[in-house]
């Protein structure tokens, strides 16, 4: 089963990387009110069903993929 984890800097957490991207886009003439930079992890896992796969990936996020102090995450099940 294919799942994607989107990891974002939590709301309210300063994101200097996003600020730098925004400033750089501005120098190219783009008007961007805000940019935030996160991370994407594509996973392929063995699981009986979608719920089991999702639960497994939740545990991966808690144990390694995201740091809850500064990051939020969202799990998406990809069409097979």
């Amino acid at each position: 089963m294919r799942l994607t984890v989107l990891i974002r800097p939590k709301a309210g957490i300063l994101d200097p990387q996003g600020e730098a991207v925004q400033a750089s886009l501005a120098t190219l003439g783009f008007s961007v009110a805000r940019a935030r930079v996160g991370r994407l992890v594509d996973l392929e896992v063995e699981a009986d069903d979608a719920d089991a796969a999702r639960a497994e990936v939740e545990r991966m996020c808690a144990e390694l993929l995201a740091n809850p102090l500064i990051e939020s995450f969202e799990i998406r099940l990809e069409p097979s």
Partner: protein
């Protein structure tokens, strides 16, 4: 067996200050021993553990994240749980935070630039084993060299840590955007410490400062005490 207390220096793939740490620890009376990250145990007579600086696992995912789940970390966690002194320097600090052995997390420097220079630090609390050779208010000069050194915790945690004396070192000036200019913290029981500056690079006046030696020598004192307490 040497009379010098054994200090384990953990080596991860990408550690690059392990040898400097071992040399500096030797210069203040320790018997350093390298321990590979895949080891499940520390040497039996380990008196203290140092997680050195570097870029373990290429800083993939988040700095320190992958090293924080390396096999050796279970042994480090168990050692810390018995009161064993554990010091994380730079990447070692990042690893201890990711392993939740220390509060907070290290984020990208506010200026998004690598910073490499001497930093003036103020000792905020001196009751942990690591700062027993220092006094509160004392200024130390120890170099920093990091890109992800901005310590962060939520406001409630920060206030609580400061009240409990767990914020042990602060930069005199803003170096990297760290919350409260925090440079080093200890755990609640005072036997695990992390700091971004590199005490192992400041153990000889010829290199600009010997202030780092105060921390490392205190660690060696603690290692000797811990080893004396441990069952043989």
């Amino acid at each position: 067996m040497s009379d010098r207390p054994l200090v384990a220096v953990v080596v991860f793939p990408g550690s690059n200050d392990d040898r400097d740490a071992a040399w500096a620890l030797g210069s203040v009376g320790a018997e350093p021993a390298f321990v590979w990250h895949e080891e499940a145990c520390l040497p039996a007579d380990t008196g203290a553990v140092v997680l050195p600086g570097g870029f373990s696992y290429g800083d993939y995912l988040r700095t320190g994240a992958i090293a924080s789940v390396a096999p050796v970390m279970d042994a480090v966690r168990a050692f810390a749980a018995t009161g064993g002194p554990v010091l994380g320097i730079c990447n070692g600090f990042q690893i201890l935070c990711e392993a939740r052995l220390l509060p907070g997390v290290l984020r990208s420097n506010r200026q998004l630039e690598f910073v490499c220079r001497d930093a003036a630090l103020r000792v905020e609390a001196a009751d942990s084993v690591f700062l027993r050779r220092c006094a509160v208010g004392q200024e130390l000069v120890i170099p920093v060299k990091h890109g992800d050194g901005a310590w962060y915790a939520d406001e409630g945690t920060f206030v609580q840590l400061a009240a409990r004396g767990q914020i042990v070192l602060r930069y005199r000036d803003d170096v990297n955007g760290a919350l409260g200019n925090v440079a080093g913290v200890v755990n609640e029981t005072g036997n695990v410490m992390g700091l971004m500056p590199h005490p192992e690079h400041a153990v000889d006046p010829l290199l600009g400062s010997a202030d780092g030696g105060l921390l490392l020598a205190a660690l060696v004192d603690a290692a000797a005490r811990h080893r004396a307490l441990a069952p043989v």
